[in-house]
Amino acid sequence: MSESLDLRLALAETELENPVLPYLRQDRIPHIWCPGCGIGTSVNCFCRALTDSGLDLNKVAIVSGIGCTGRTAGYLNLDSFHTTHGRAIPFATGLKLGNPELNVVVYSGDGDLFAIGGNHFFHAARRNMDILVICVNNFTYGMTGGQVAPTTPVGPTQTTMPLGNFESPFNLPFIADACGATYVSRWTVYHVRQLAKAMKEALGKKGFRFIEVMSPCPTLYSRRNRLGDGVDQVKYYKESSVIKNGADTKDIGLGFQGEIVVGKFVDRERPTWLESMNDHFSHVLGDQFTPYGVKPEGE
């Protein structure tokens, strides 16, 4: 083989490989998401965050529930768990406590995390379980065909709110904050660079961390409500977003096509559940207790 052919091949490999591909299970791409669905964009950002985080990818695990977003676990080339609807957080809790060395990320949808899974979110946040929760909020149940979600703003039509939603939604960052999360931010898929940065930052922190990612579901939310395609939603995100780092989470609830406050809202330190356990047991039991999941020094 001539040197120049070798060179060409090497180049072809380097150049043609999309930098995110190594983070994906390539044998499973193309993915199932609809044209213009924002979930893929968020995954894109997450892959960049993984690169930038410098983490050992063998020690990063991803856990999803069920839903369109829930399929993320299946596409990422990490130890990945596609659990049951709403139960990603307790599974992640078991995974993390089972092996505290792992960096455990929950990646799931708004319905999964806040409807059926809401209680687990609240309790994991209360306990300050050491996991990062990324919620792709498309304001609907994508996978099952566009039913009302606990995030759907008042107004838009959903199949189970056929005349338009009249139920008040949760303000997710506020809820996370109220339950004691150590890190809370919100971005939209328009904010690709900020989102990637936030994900990187959150990956590097400890405790219960939460990122809300606003994302279009053209198929079941925007088109159905005459808001156009995915790209139109992202344009709306662009136009209507205001970055307010440190904003009071109480004030940043989302209306239908209204102003969107994005930014980093909470960044605090609090001992994680496991740290509390280890501290407490060490305190009570002294030498009789060997801290759990802590590598002996020097190892």
Binding site: R28, N77, P90, F91, L97, G98, E101, H123, Y292
Partner: protein, 386 residues
């Protein structure tokens, strides 16, 4: 493999079945439990919570049974042996995750300390009425293994066996206790760690590139396992999946996966035979029982024998898979089976199916709340012997 001495409280103890079960789990290597309290099972996790800080491991009380029953599965994929402890109402909440464990082949032990049902029923009183639930309570087709102890000592012994079987078959294994056994106190002998045989997880020896998470051979239907963090980058899903563990929602994959999940256990029904038999060889009537009822049945059988009747005593240690062949063989020799149980007739249905009308099968049902009167069983034995 021998038990880790750290978890083995060797010695002689006067403890109840709940406490003995906990010691069994610790001896078996269980170091992670996520629980939720419910009478009459709570003592198991309470003891675990008290013991684990010095043994090394974690107990966490979750917000509910749904969380507990999936958190333990996270624990398994992190490399732990785990258990799940509950009673009827809690078990009913765990049905989705029972299916998930079966589908993902997550080895784990489920303890059900049975109380009177249905619904909230009789929280502090015994029953054996969840026997069918564990077999059929999750949607779709799946298989489990179930053991039934009748004393605190057996709560200890069979707990270890349950853990070992769950590793061998990579399936949920149930320890079906009941309120009486759970709260009955007797002497429990815990042997030294080096006398306790433990089945290690079926860890793969393959390298990341070579390993397929759900690949099996025709001889061995149980796939090898890895854990998160070891570089295998596995994918685990409750969807129908292929050998790699990837979602593969089509008929061929379903047709490959589901029969394997059933057959890895069904094909080993003979290996999984575990019964105690006494006087069955020349019996006219066989009393089949399990759990606490077996101790009541024994009293009735003794009384019947005292009356000169030839009565065999057959006790199921492993209830699921049900020993169909054994029953069929016995059906060739005896006149009748008598099946007392603390429910309105559950395992007796399996006997009936097995004997195919060849001999009489007499159910001795009981709605629960206490055990049978031995006399009630005795009457049916006499009836059966006619």
């Amino acid at each position: 493999m021998k038990a880790d001495p750290k978890g083995v409280l060797s010695g002689v103890h006067f403890i109840d079945g709940d406490h003995a079960a906990c010691e069994g789990a610790l001896a078996a290597g269980c170091r992670f439990v996520a629980g939720y309290p419910i009478t009459p099972s709570t003592e198991i996790v309470e003891r675990f919570a008290a013991r684990i800080p010095k043994v090394g491991g974690v107990f966490i009380q979750m917000e509910d049974e749904l969380a507990a029953s999936i958190a333990i599965q996270g624990g398994v994929w992190a490399g732990h042996k785990v258990m799940n402890v509950t009673s009827g109402p809690g078990l009913s909440l765990m049905m989705e995750h029972l299916g998930y464990a079966a589908m993902t082949e997550t080895p784990c032990v489920w303890v059900d300390v049975q109380r009177g049902g249905p619904s909230t029923g009789l929280p502090t009183l015994p029953a054996q009425a969840d026997m069918m639930q564990i077999k059929w309570g999750s949607h779709g087709d799946y298989e489990i293994i179930a053991l039934s102890p009748n004393s605190p000592q057996e709560c200890f012994d069979l707990m270890i066996k349950a853990f070992n079987l769950s590793e061998e078959y990579r399936c949920p294994v149930f320890l079906m206790m009941d309120e009486v056994v759970g709260h009955m106190t007797e002497r429990v002998n815990i042997p030294p760690a080096d006398q306790i045989e433990i089945t290690d997880r079926k860890w793969t020896t393959k390298k990341p590139g070579e390993y397929k998470a759900y690949a099996t051979t025709s001889e061995d239907l149980v796939p090898e396992m890895v854990k998160a963090g070891d570089g295998y980058r596995i994918h685990v899903t409750g969807l129908t999946h292929d050998e790699r563990g990837y979602p593969a929602m089509d008929v061929p994959n379903q047709a490959k996966l589901i029969p394997r999940l059933l057959n890895k256990i069904r094909n080993n029904t003979e290996q999984l035979l575990d019964v105690r038999m006494d006087g069955c060889d020349d019996a006219d009537v066989i009393v089949m029982s399990f759990g606490i009822t077996s101790r009541v049945a024994t009293a009735a059988i003794e009384a019947a024998r005292a009356k000169g009747l030839k009565v065999g005593n057959l006790r199921l240690i492993i209830c699921w898979p049900f020993p169909v062949k054994l029953i069929q063989q016995l059906a060739e020799k005896v006149k009748a089976f008598v099946v007392p149980e603390l429910n309105m007739g559950q395992m007796v249905l399996e006997v009936r199916k097995a004997v195919e009308g060849k001999v009489k099968v007499i159910s001795v049902p009981h709605p629960g709340g206490t055990v049978h009167e031995p006399e009630t069983i005795l009457e049916q034995i006499i009836e059966a012997a006619r």
